[in-house]
Amino acid sequence: MEKTESGKFEGLTETDQAYLADLLKQLADDDYLLSFRSSEWLGLAPHIEEDVASASISQDMMGHAAMYYGLLGDIYGRDADDLAHFRGPADRRNSILTEKRNGEGEYLDVPKYDWAYHVVRNLYYNMHKKVKLVALKQSSSTPLRDVAAKAAMELYYHELHWRTWFIQLMNSSDDAKARMAAALEKVNGECADLFHLGKYSEDITRKGYIAPASEMKDSFRKEMEKVFDQTDSVFSFPDDQKENGRLGRHTEDLEHALELMSEVYGSVPYAKW
């Protein structure tokens, strides 16, 4: 990875660093996991231009994860690649939505992935990210503000992309509509922790690192209603679910993703990439 500026969190107390670190893990792990899941579509997307687009978006998302891991590494005095690859499931703070498999089967075997799920999951995730980046651009932490401004410019294209897919498929054939309805139901069971801010949520918002979850949820609802207004469906968002990734409680799918993702890096950890 390229070298970035360091020493950005000097002067912060240890507790403040711990709050920021937890928030950075949520942001970094979200992009890292969904970037990986999306990259599993490489070569499988519905058409060639979509393959290019979907892969390019995954690459941007990995760039966003790298920016957050870079900041986290600055706090911990650790290498960003190590933080991406060598943290176990209990230390991960990503939303459940970002870790789930794309569907049945394995990429290297017979992947029977669900494109409708990919579209719905990415619309929910990207709209949530858009709202979060707006809030982070007002953060009391300068490095967070800077990274959010950078990510927001790239997200513009991602959100536009998934919103376009979503509206088109929701207004398409009966088969497409049925698949989208099933995907919406699935996503609704996995996205409740998107706006959860983890074990330090009160401290994180009190310090002004990010807006309170309730405010962001309201903005998210308004944005999503505008999208759903262009379909025959009504937007709904779950209050709660069994697992909560922000608290380190994950599904088996996370282990599966981490194992695959860090296999090469972990095989020769001292190699220079």
């Binding site: 390229e2 500026e5 390019s56 978006i57 941007d60 790298a66 950078k150 513009y156």
Partner: protein, 167 residues
């Protein structure tokens, strides 16, 4: 004793102008507006760059190429190159020389953004026609889109518009 050249900003920038985009040898990182800050203290140079796209795999290559080029300067003993996000790179940072270099390579410069109606304008880099269509906003690299010219019937790439007006 050999008289050492003073490492001033101008000298460093002229050296950085020799560092090309790893994929586009007609534009330098200076032309792309990636150079944010240069500083020299005695024989040490420090250069701060702006990444175009955060996930661009060319960044470590650019970092290495910059450091190597700077060490060729008379009187330079060390060269530190790092990236910052303190100012986001936007596509309007591409200079006039950058625009010429991109066109020469067959890549249209970043679109002009018309704020009043939110539209973009890209001209074909080969024939200059405005009769073009966007085939894919996403292209072979993070910073490029794929377009098609209906006039000279050539597919071409254009630098993506990246602006702080986009949200």
């Amino acid at each position: 004793m050999k008289a050492e050249k003073i490492l001033d900003e101008e000298l460093i920038l002229s050296k950085l102008a020799e560092v090309k985009d790893p994929e586009i040898d007609t534009v330098s990182i200076v032309d792309l507006g990636m150079v944010y800050r240069v500083a020299a203290v005695d024989t040490s140079i420090k250069v701060t760059l702006l990444p175009t796209f955060s996930g661009c795999p060319a960044l470590p290559i650019i970092e290495k190429n910059c450091a190597e080029a700077l060490l060729e300067l008379d009187g330079a003993d060390s060269a530190e190159v790092e990236f910052t996000f303190s100012v986001p790179w936007t596509s309007d940072r591409v200079t006039e020389a950058g625009i010429r270099g991109l066109k020469e390579f067959g890549i249209a410069p970043p679109p002009e953004f018309i704020e009043s109606d939110g539209s973009w304008h890209v001209d074909c880099p080969y024939c200059g026609s405005t009769f073009v269509t966007v085939e894919n906003i996403f292209g072979p690299t993070a910073c490029r889109s794929i377009l098609y010219c209906r006039n000279c019937r050539n597919p071409f790439e254009a630098m993506k518009l990246v602006s702080s007006n986009m949200h």
